[in-house]
């Protein structure tokens, strides 16, 4: 739905404004999942906006994603985090493991720098990896190091 909404943009400026509006909905990872200093194991490789990614198993056994973006200018990373959360949270792990990295180009267009592409694709890759780990574990019955009980599910390592 969110991706179809972006397709309605009439031009580059309108699309950028839509993406900025989406980024404004960003909320950093809740304390019950992680607190600073965040473990480097959740840091997105090659992302200069210092985006961290966590996934949480919901009681329904679906996964929900949480993000932190430590660079104050990381507005594209925040936008990507919101889109990943709003479009993928609740999907099955097997679907999440197949999310294509090209999603980045559908959202931001193809005129991204290599550095920006790698950082944003890295966030997608982190989501994939989390889903694959969840699948490999059979069931996420371990707690994320440093995370606390939330009563609404458990963090996937």
């Amino acid at each position: 739905m969110l991706l179809e909404y972006l397709d309605l943009a009439g031009d580059r400026d309108e699309r950028i404004q839509m993406l900025i509006d989406i980024a404004s909905r960003f909320r950093s990872v809740p304390d019950f999942i992680a607190t600073r200093p965040f473990p480097k194991s959740h840091l997105t490789p090659a992302c200069e906006s210092e985006a961290y990614v966590w996934c949480q198993e919901l009681p329904s056994q679906a996964l929900k994603f949480h993000f932190a973006v430590e660079n104050p200018q990381g507005i594209s990373a925040k936008c990507m985090a919101v889109i990943l959360d709003e479009t993928l949270s609740g999907e099955s792990a097997s679907s999440l493991a197949q999310v294509p990295g090209e999603l980045v180009y559908r959202i931001f267009g193809k005129n991204l720098s290599m550095g920006k592409s790698m950082g944003l694709m890295g966030m997608v890759s982190m989501v994939q990896s989390c889903a694959k780990r969840y699948l490999a574990s059979g069931k996420a019955d371990r707690r994320l190091e440093g995370s606390r009980e939330a009563g609404s599910g458990s963090a996937v390592p």
Binding site: I75, K116, M118
Partner: protein, 287 residues
């Protein structure tokens, strides 16, 4: 960081401070231009009155791997309402990578009335200075540009090959891992645009970021000389080629060497590693 005038640069003509910009926001002879890697940043907030110069849309040729031509540059400058006499003050994200890149492209058309705002967008923002979201619009100008002249600050692959064979100095401003060929790409990213890893023979590895402070401002002349001349024996009279992956990081180093240290012949190889690392039968060094 000390005032720009106290840092001992060879010239301060091409560098202004955030404070200087804040005092000249209403100067009609100036045009502030933001150039970023992140395409969302300008629209999310920019210096009052600043226009956007986008590195892909505004500076690159729409089809070929090249920069815009004379008519394209005229169209850009007319759009932002600049004349040949307008001083364009560029700033942006990533410690002014893309601002320096735009500044360098401006030199291909002889627009020497250009400056970089020290520290870029982040420094301005961190100092609590105003940002606005309204896009700035100016009456179109009648900008007349000369033909693009690549000879002074740009260099092509055959010239680089001659440069290597003549034993003249090069600066590879990429990360050490890219320089050594350890990394062509990140895991899970099959294509970063080069088939071979390593560096152009005899190039010194001086990552661009060594010239920048934590806040994105440029280091002092003494600190820069210690890096480029002291550690790497580059001299102001040397004929130097700088390169990175596509020429944007090396624009930053080109600016440092040319304007802050006063080196007289520094050229940017914008083909950089995405060209050299794909060329057939050119020499490559790896440790």
């Amino acid at each position: 960081m000390s005032a720009i005038e106290e840092r001992g640069y060879a010239s301060t003509d091409a560098l202004v401070s955030t404070e200087w910009v804040s005092q000249h926001l209403n100067d009609s002879n100036l045009r502030f231009a933001e150039s970023n890697e992140d395409p969302l940043l300008y629209a999310s907030g920019h210096i009052p009155g600043a226009v956007e110069v986008d590195w892909t849309r505004d500076l690159n040729h729409p089809l070929r791997r090249d920069y815009l031509d004379r008519s394209g540059f005229e169209a850009l400058m007319r759009r932002i309402g600049a004349t040949r006499e307008t001083t364009v003050v560029l700033y942006g994200d990533k410690s002014n990578w893309w601002a320096c890149y735009a500044f360098w492209v401006f030199q291909l058309f002889g627009h020497t009335n250009a400056k970089i705002m020290d520290g870029g967008r982040l420094k301005w923002q961190n100092e609590g200075r105003p940002l606005v979201t309204e896009a700035a619009n100016y009456p179109s100008s009648d900008y007349q540009a000369p033909e693009r002249d690549d000879s002074k600050v740009r260099v092509f692959r055959d010239q680089v090959l001659d440069h290597v064979q003549a034993g003249r100095p090069l600066v590879d401003v990429r990360s050490p891992a890219e320089y050594t060929g350890e990394r062509l790409h990140m895991e899970a990213y099959p294509n970063e645009g080069a088939l071979r890893g390593g560096h152009i023979p005899r190039a010194a590895n001086i990552p661009w970021a060594r010239a920048a402070n934590e806040d994105g401002s440029f280091k002092s002349a003494d600190e820069l000389r210690a890096i480029y001349t002291g550690e790497n024996n580059l001299q102001p009279g040397d004929d130097i080629v700088a390169y990175c992956r596509i020429g944007e990081r090396s624009s930053h180093t080109w600016f440092v060497l040319t304007y802050l240290l006063g080196f007289q012949q520094v050229r940017n190889y914008d083909g950089s590693w995405t060209e050299w690392g794909n060329l057939v039968n050119v020499p490559i060094e790896r440790p």
